[in-house]
Symmetry: C2
Subunit: 339 residues, 2 copies
């Protein structure tokens, strides 16, 4: 069996995480038992939810155990199989973790899925046709339910989730405004992804300036907001909400390191009869098939644009992950493995 | 035509309102035109929503115009009628305003409704079998959707809305915890209204003490919260929410005078996948008939207990209203008129 590089969580961060929280180790991949599949990873997905798992405290999921391989989505190729459904050479998506190989029991529900790379690049199954894309779809359809002509605002708009949110909303006839940090990301939104307008939050460091910029691009107010950030951006959007606005809360990355992140004016929830709802995509498994069908079709036909930032080699994963938390990535953050 | 006493809004409050914002005037009631009904008011309803109307700024409703009669719900008796559906002596509920008489066109939808006082006291049509009761019903059914065995928390629990929320939830098999200010109100909740437990917020002036008191009476966490207060009470309840908790926001009286009222930890919305939704009962007219049917049956059969605080005479309305905003009332705040 091949030698396997792994990154484990060595210690829990106090406040901002650092590369010292991770450790690269090497081990042999275990021998396959009946039903097992050996997958050689091509790409590892880095996602903001991983930050929450690094903490010991109760959140919506169990904490990442110390000294165990960091969890994470992976795509790769079957290298050996003792399961009749998986053949050597199959391209698969799974939750292989931060390592170069994984051994997975093919019978475990949801752990390994064969995918076709005929029309869709393998890496896209970690982005627009994977968990981030489905997250966009679920928040938009299940919570925001946008109607044609309404204004939809998306934060972290050039990220893997936000890019999909905006283009799904455009496909439904909405006016779409993206909030992103930096001119290059904002240019991508309007020039490539078809967004109607943007707000560059890095150009508006005080709340009033941010509000004025948002007001300018939302002349009819905000009907739907897809939230991944929290803090001052959420406050600004709340001030622009129309009656009966819907806010899907997918993340609040601004507060992931434990800093306080109050909502300044919750009375707007009443004044504008807003619905705010948090959700986690893994709790809506019944929505994955219709979501993946629409997302796959859009990507295969070139109608859903997306960006990727690819770090090179497993050892680069911790640094890339820390950059993701600071918005240094552009689009989906991946790590190329076994290149 | 009889002489009519009226209270008009004389000026808008800056911060906390005072009696000087109101003025008592006298005028003749206008002559009846075809379709008009003259109603002699017996009770005027005082409600927290009126505070919002006193401000000039945009809220969910138009501001109360200056120098015009304050809006408000009323019950009374028809004294003269030029409308075939209304006869002299009919008991009616309507939006007669802060005055001793009103002249209403009987054809205006929703303005005047005949009610029976055979099994239900006239004043109850301003409380449990009126707008406050329907508010409780709509927030509970439309937003909270509590299931038997779940824990429902209600703030302003001894008020007109809160009392109904708790008893409707008890009728659905929930564990019900009321938050109220003062031992007499809390005693009423558990000894008369059938609540399972209470938190006296006046006995817990710091957030940690409030949280501990709430934790003690919500050993299984909080599944539903009916919110009329905001501020530290909302923060404490959020910390006790279970996964998939639902929060109906009916009011945030703590912030009605314009003081900042941040929500300390909105990331809990994501962590616990909470739904928070604001609503206004007048925007759910389709729910009034089923709500009034259940509430009327419960009051007529003595299954819904409620308290009233009755101020004597129209001139006492401003003082009583200011007391309501500070929680000085016990149960539904009414003004007895034409006594």
């Amino acid at each position: 069996m091949p030698s396997n590089q792994q990154i484990v969580l060595k210690s829990r961060p106090e406040g901002e995480p650092s590369v010292d929280n991770f450790e690269l180790t090497t081990s042999d991949t275990p021998a396959l038992k009946d039903g097992d599949v050996l997958v050689k990873h091509h790409f590892l997905s880095l996602d903001p939810y991983m930050r929450g798992r690094m903490n010991a405290g109760k959140s919506y999921a169990q904490p990442q155990p110390l000294d165990e391989v960091m969890i994470g989505g992976t795509v790769g190729v079957v290298e050996a199989s003792m399961h009749p459904k998986f053949q050597v050479g199959d391209t698969v998506v799974g939750m292989g973790g931060w390592q170069t190989y994984s051994v997975v029991n093919g019978n475990t529900p949801g752990m390994l899925r064969k995918v076709s790379t005929e029309l869709i690049p393998l890496s896209a199954y970690l982005g627009p046709v994977g968990m981030p894309g489905v997250t966009a779809w679920v928040g938009l359809h299940h919570i925001c339910e946008p109607k044609a002509g309404e204004t939809v605002v998306v934060s972290a708009a050039s990220g893997a989730v936000g890019t999909a949110v905006g283009q799904l909303a455009k496909a439904r006839g909405c006016r779409v405004v993206g909030i992103a940090g930096g001119q290059d990301k904002c240019d991508f939104l309007v020039n490539e992804a078809g967004f109607d307008a943007y707000v560059d939050y890095k150009a508006h460091t005080d709340p009033k300036s941010l509000y004025r910029a948002l007001k300018e691009v939302t002349p009819d107010g905000v009907d739907c907001y897809f939230e991944s950030v929290g803090g001052p951006i959420l406050d600004a959007v709340l001030l622009r909400t129309n009656a009966f606005a819907r806010i899907a809360v997918c993340g609040m990355i601004a507060g992931y390191n434990g800093e306080p992140l109050p909502m300044q004016n919750p009375s707007l929830i009443l004044v504008n009869r807003i619905k705010i709802q948090g959700f986690i995509v893994s709790e809506h498994m019944e929505l994955w098939p219709p979501a993946l069908q629409e997302l796959g079709t859009m990507v295969a036909s070139g109608k859903l644009k997306y960006r990727e930032t690819v770090a090179d080699g497993l050892a680069a994963a911790p640094e890339a992950f820390l950059g993701l938390l600071k918005g240094k990535n552009f689009g989906k953050q991946l790590v190329k493995i076994n290149s």
